[in-house]
């Protein structure tokens, strides 16, 4: 009688161990879309935080080159953010905007550099 109860207890413990172990190795059935969406959703707030820090430097910057440099970094990272966002939103339209934004930022660099060196905007 005692042996039977002991065996029952051991079986119960083993069953409960299996039960909890199945929770330990449990994984949701994730397809590709939900993986991409969840990872990008986690990463986007960090992007937005760094944008805010860039904006602080744009407002604070003591001299003109500092402000232009901060606007540069803001624009390049905004272009990358547009590419990431178009992957997240499943529409390829925003990529072209990122490409054009990169070119405009380069034009801003060259214009400001020429203005600082020669004190003229030059056509």
């Amino acid at each position: 009688m005692k042996l039977e109860t002991a065996a029952k207890g051991i079986m119960a413990v083993r069953r409960s161990l299996k039960y909890w172990a199945s929770y330990l190795f449990w994984r949701p059935a994730m397809d590709l879309e939900s993986v991409v969406t969840s990872v990008l959703t986690v990463l986007i707030p960090i992007y937005v935080t760094s944008f805010l820090i860039y904006v602080v430097r744009v407002v604070k910057g003591p001299t003109l080159p500092d402000r232009v440099l901060a606007v540069d970094s803001l624009g390049y990272d905004l272009a990358a953010f547009m590419v990431v966002l178009s992957v997240l939103l499943k529409s390829p339209l925003m990529v072209v905007c990122g490409l054009a934004l990169a070119l405009w930022i380069y034009a801003l660099d060259i214009y400001v550099a020429k203005f600082l060196e020669a004190k003229e905007m030059g056509g």
């Binding site: 590709l32 960090i46 760094s50 540069d72 990272d77 990358a80 590419v83 992957v87 990529v95 060196e117």
Partner: protein, 122 residues
């Protein structure tokens, strides 16, 4: 299988780019001088813009659910990353040269300024 590998590598590249972006932003805020801030800004431009663009292109190539427009997305992202790799460095170099030559930004915490005009120089 190759789709899953492409997506995982692309997401890892995007995560590395976000890290670079955040570090570049902190450096741009905290460094004392224009010419030291330039270092943080270019690190943020290459690591924070070129790398996640290549990562997004890989993700778009691997993700089947985006449909046929994903090839357009991947190609445009790759092209803009190549463009940015050249243009950001050229632009920062131009703005640094202009800032030094016009005397707009000071080199104040510097130990030695090799470009400064000495006495007797033209």
């Amino acid at each position: 299988m190759i789709d899953l590998a492409l997506v995982i590598v692309g997401l890892a590249l995007i995560a590395v780019g976000v890290f670079y972006d955040f570090v570049g932003a902190i450096g741009l805020l905290r460094l004392p001088n224009f010419f030291t801030r330039l270092h943080a800004a270019t690190a943020g431009a290459i690591g924070g813009a070129v790398v996640p663009m290549i990562g997004a292109a890989l993700v778009a190539l691997g993700a089947d659910y985006l449909g046929p427009p994903r090839f357009f997305l991947a190609g445009a992202a790759f092209a803009s990353s190549l463009l940015l790799m050249v243009l950001s460095q050229a632009g920062s170099h131009a703005i640094a040269r202009a800032a030094y030559l016009s005397g707009e930004a000071s080199v104040e915490p510097a130990l030695y300024d090799a470009l400064k005009k000495r006495e007797g120089e033209v």
